[in-house]
Amino acid sequence: MGADHDEAGAFPMDDIQQLGVYQVYTGSGTGSGFLIDATHLLTNCHVVSPFRQVAVELRDRTRILGTVRRLHPQRDLAIVELAHPLSGEVLALSDGVQLKPKQAVHILGFPVGLPLSLTEGVISHPRQLLDEQYFLQTDAAINPGNSGGPMLDDGRRIIAVTTCKLDAADSVGFGIPVTDVRRFVEEFRGQQSAFGVQCPACDHLIDSATRYCPSCGTDLDAQHDIRDYFDTPDPHPLVGFVEGALAGAGIDPVLARHGDHNWSFHVGSAPVKIWCCCSEHLNFSSPLAQTGNRNLDALFRHLLAAEHAPYFYDLNGNTIRLNLVVHVSDVFLPHEHADLAERVRQFVLKADASDDQLIRDYGCMPAPETQIDFLAGGGQHPR
């Protein structure tokens, strides 16, 4: 199929990196989204909920802030306003009237958190009825992380938005038809309020927490707990601690979110990952550099030196990581948070300084995840 397209030149997908499709990060997971103009991204409601602020990652792995402006929980659509305009190509919406079974489908997204990827298949059914809604059904591979990404036709026009797949079946994925997407976008263009949620029954835009739809009287709690979309949920104490500590270290916690109890960000050239495992330990880790072939004895002695406590280095293969472990019981001692937050701040500073030191003093090489090359080229990370 791909060869046919290349010969015909009908499907110019040579450089998908130029397309305005980006990865969306929240405190519950990651998904995909695409530009509907330079400052607005369309994705799934389930990708951004229950958060009102999300992070959008660009090709160079920097992240910008996005603010959720409109949700349609029933149709699983959301629009996010970006902190600044992006230059990615805005893909056109197709008219959606010519779709037929066996027609090619090209899905763009970030499956299982991988970089932007293209998967292909065909339309299995252009208008499949499921749970009283119509979907475009496809056999193209859909994985977690693809949600909210565009489904394209051969002319590189959007024909649907990836939303879900059947876990109990092979190759049965679904997209929200472009006609619904077009209507959602057009209605957003006329939106006056900063934030609104569409009624699942009548599509009326609701701009404040209410139990009954002001237009059709539907009991909104009975369907989607729509009042929850207007409340910022109380964070888990562990999340509250980490995000407070990150803020204290000058890191925007929204931009650092990387799914449930996971955070990732760069500080200077050093990548930092934070995760909670086994409900007992909160782990901070920064892969800094790779060992070279000389001076190893001195390097290893430096890495194991007691002076680094409470921080410590370890080796994953040849990759040197700086780490900090916080016991979860510490997180439930609010009067100690200032001290612990200072440890986190010092960890961030040490990570930022250590990769350079390892390279300079011990002949190490940058770890693949560090951004030394990027920063050398003049890039800067927003804080």
């Binding site: 330990h281 190893l296 290893f300 194991l304 410590f312 994953n316 472990v325 016991h327 019981s329 001692l333």
Partner: protein, 391 residues
Amino acid sequence: MSITSLHLPAPIRRRQHHAPSDHARRDRAVELFESGSLRESVCETLAYLLPGTAVPDLVGEPLCFVQGSARVRVGIERDELAVGTVLAALQDGSQATAALRYFLTRMSSTGQLFQPRLRGDSIALEFRDRLALMHPLKLIEVLQRLPVEAYRNDAWLAQQFSVALPDREPVPPLDDDEFARAHLVWQRHWDQVDALMTESRRRRSLRVLDALGSLAVNHVNYALPLFGAVRARLNESADDFTDRDENPNRRDSVLAKCVKDMQQVGADELRACLGHLQYAINPQLDGTPSLLTSMLGGGQRMQATGELRAAGRALEAALELVSIYLYLLTHYSWPEEVEAALRAGLDLASDQPWREVTDLLWEHANSTAQTYGSHGAHDRDDDEAEAADGR
């Protein structure tokens, strides 16, 4: 010729004194911590883990206790609690780079609170934190896990990297008679496992592989006071061949390789790895009546074993039953009468044909569960223990 029975001799390993944990002391330590009595909380935590041990004030005089071959020191310095044990020291002739790489790769790790730290040429496992952050559950985790890492690795490190072991508790060796018996147990065990490998491959049975893997490692750890390099090698292989999520072909090949490796262990090497280690903190879990009910009464494994028995698959059923008994005796500490009852089951099964083992142990298991088990619904913890029984 097919193997027709299993020899299950009495253990040479000395019985660990059974002293059920007094969880009220742990709860008291938590209360003290939460009320701001930090030093008292530490002392109560130590009393919970080390019943009967006199705990010094920790400021002027640290507590030193022996866990296996590790000497663990616990002391208070200013407002910090420090826990540590010296693991090894680099010396002339050590493979220093390889040893240091090993510490960084295998002993430094996220997911644990203590870490290896180098001072001069001496490497220690250390943990240190302010008393205000010394929640009893955190301290218990450190005191239980840190010494294990030390005593499971020290002799192996010395053998692999020629490092010195400057602060290691001497391990009382086996006397000649004990060693002679231990050597026989060792040789016969691995010959049996070797023969059962053939049966496992002939039958291509995952159940046999599961039970055999469990038996291979648990019978050794139950019967012999094994430590050091040989135990480290065995446990490392067992991590793979008892892993039920691992590819069965790989498990089979790792077990086969392990059997060959263990059969080649000479008398001198074995003698150096046998000794009666002392444990201040019981390394075994507390056995409970509900666990007995779950494992021997009517849990999933016994139901599956009953199906094998009803289908006339005597070897599979017998191996499964023996492996359950060995698992309970290896990983759990029991009151003397319960341990004797479990041992009696193995005595019944020893050197008997598979079918008789199946019938005898089936009856014995039910009777033991009736006598010593709990008679209510078994609790969730025990279901989890059963589910986690990889070995």
